[in-house]
Amino acid sequence: MTLPQTPDQHGKGEVELAVSLGPLRLRHPVINASGTFDLGEMEAHYERDFVADFPFSAYVPKTVTLEARAGNPPPRVSETACGMINAIGLANPGLQSFLNSLPALAKLREPVIVSVGGSQREDYVAVVEALEKTLDSATKGSVPQVAGYELNVSCPNVRTGCLAIGTDPAETAALVSAVRPLTARLLVVKLTPNVTDVVVVARAAVDAGADCLSLVNTFRALVVDSVTLKPFLGNRTGGLCGPAIKPIALRLVHDVAAALPVPVIGMGGITTGLDALEFIACGATAVAIGAANFAAVDAGERIVAELEAELRARCLPSVSAARGLALPGSARSARDA
């Protein structure tokens, strides 16, 4: 891990952190992963003004479903070796409550990417339609800048839909085809790692009109209660995330970025700027921070600062210069920079 320590040779000049997710310009590549950073709650609990001083370059709220969902029975989370497992079950107050909360986000300077979930195609369609209608009719400044949607077809913790869609290329394509005509905004599809070949599903999504892919969602997993020897989580199984899964997530991002021409949002176990850089080297345009937000409320800005330092230490002038260095076609190496 030792880089040449010659501070005189680098450290000079600006490092360009801005990236483009299709038409969407982000001031840096680090966004939050859905379900792991609730802006309203962070504002309510912490002294810091997270709206005025938002650490991420885009805000992805918790997945919204048409109806309110109470979620799965507890326990819902547990720690594992270098990871954590959750079975929240898409607990959320539902579409109407989300629409009501939009004005509270109006002051946010960063774009919002709305994560949408559901048990069936029609649910996703209903949520996107309702949002489009609300946004179109809203007076300027009364709602945040909603830049796009992330279709969550990969939550392993709900019994119907979601993962059943995301593991099936045809279902995924049908969903994207249904949503695509409803909006001109950025359409992201969030992929599951629980498949034999992620590229098949990714390609189906892109062919059906997705602008961007995000991955990975969590890995279906199980924790045994050490006292009773029964499944520990109320939902029996849950989804594994955190540093434990990073090597698998990197491989999946690498495979998708190598195969498809759309921008990729990479995630899975990122806790440092170097982790973020690794995803970028594997072809990610942006990266998302999930479980690391639980370990530290300032994870976002720390990772951005570290990423900048890592680029600087390698004499890489921009995030783009690092992008894809680990992909099959790339002859370049960070050593040449």
Binding site: M42, E79, A81, A91
Partner: protein, 262 residues
């Protein structure tokens, strides 16, 4: 989700601070860890907790720990080594630094309480030192009934300084034989006494039934596995009469009647 804040509403917002361990006292498998944390010492309400980073590799989540006591600029945590994380936390030494986020959660309501009965089991007793002091300072008459498995676990009582503190053990190896609730039963309880309960869910259920039969109101502090500790993740819910509520933000202190216990 219709949030029904049952405990004292959050007065002060949380911060993340690195705190120096200034003192460690061990009582059997428990450790009282004192930390220099002026900010938290000023802000915390009894019953609130801090999210503490485990100072060892391989851990991704912080651990929620109640504020056990406030002493000037310092706060004390009372830690039982149960799993890997708490074992690492209970093993810290003076001079080390721990990262704390807090204060978080609802606290106990202590205003206007004439007489208070604190019923705790096992590590559940942790917040009761601070609670007893705050209640006493507000003019309440405080009695505490602590229940433990055996004399080994009961050693944690040594970490407390509460004038009217009674101890029972399930195996009778120290104090009265029986549970905390059976112990409470033996105490003369004035009408209007407010019951404060903290411990495993079955114990809370027993306290609930006992309080109801004596027509006493009460507050219960609950435990749950946490990820964020601040309302973001919905990981820490428990079942209540108002549906699933988050222990970290709608709790940990709930109205005793709301708790659904086995």
């Amino acid at each position: 989700m219709s949030a029904v804040p049952a405990g004292s509403s959050m007065v002060q917002k949380a911060v993340t601070v690195d705190c120096r361990v200034s003192d460690v006292r061990r009582h059997g498998t428990f450790a009282v860890v004192s930390l220099v944390a002026p900010h938290l010492a000023r802000r915390a309400v009894a019953g609130q907790f801090v999210m503490v980073a485990v100072p060892r590799g391989g851990f991704v989540l912080r651990r929620p720990l109640s504020v056990h006591a406030v002493r000037g600029d310092s706060i004390a945590l009372l830690i039982e080594a149960r799993g890997h994380g708490s074992a690492a936390l209970a093993a810290v030494d003076v001079g080390q630094t721990l990262s704390l986020a807090g204060p978080l959660g609802t606290g106990f309501v202590t205003e206007g309480v004439q007489s208070a009965l604190l019923v705790g089991g096992g590590i559940g007793v942790a917040p009761f030192q601070m609670l007893a002091e705050r209640l006493a300072a507000a003019g309440s008459y405080v009695t505490a009934a602590f229940g433990f498995r055996d004399h080994r676990q009961a050693r944690v009582a040594g970490a407390f300084d509460i004038p009217q503190l009674w101890v029972a053990t399930e195996d009778g190896s120290l104090g009265r034989r029986g549970t905390a609730v059976e112990l409470a039963e033996t105490l003369a309880v004035q009408p209007g006494t407010v019951v404060y309960a903290c411990g495993p869910l079955p114990m809370i259920g027993a306290v609930q039934r006992w309080a109801q039969s004596h027509e006493l109101t009460g507050q219960a502090s609950l435990e749950a596995h946490m990820a964020c500790g601040s309302g973001s993740c919905h990981g820490c819910v428990i079942e209540t009469t108002a549906g699933y509520l988050r222990v970290c933000s709608e709790g940990p202190v709930f109205d005793l009647r709301m708790v659904i216990a086995p």
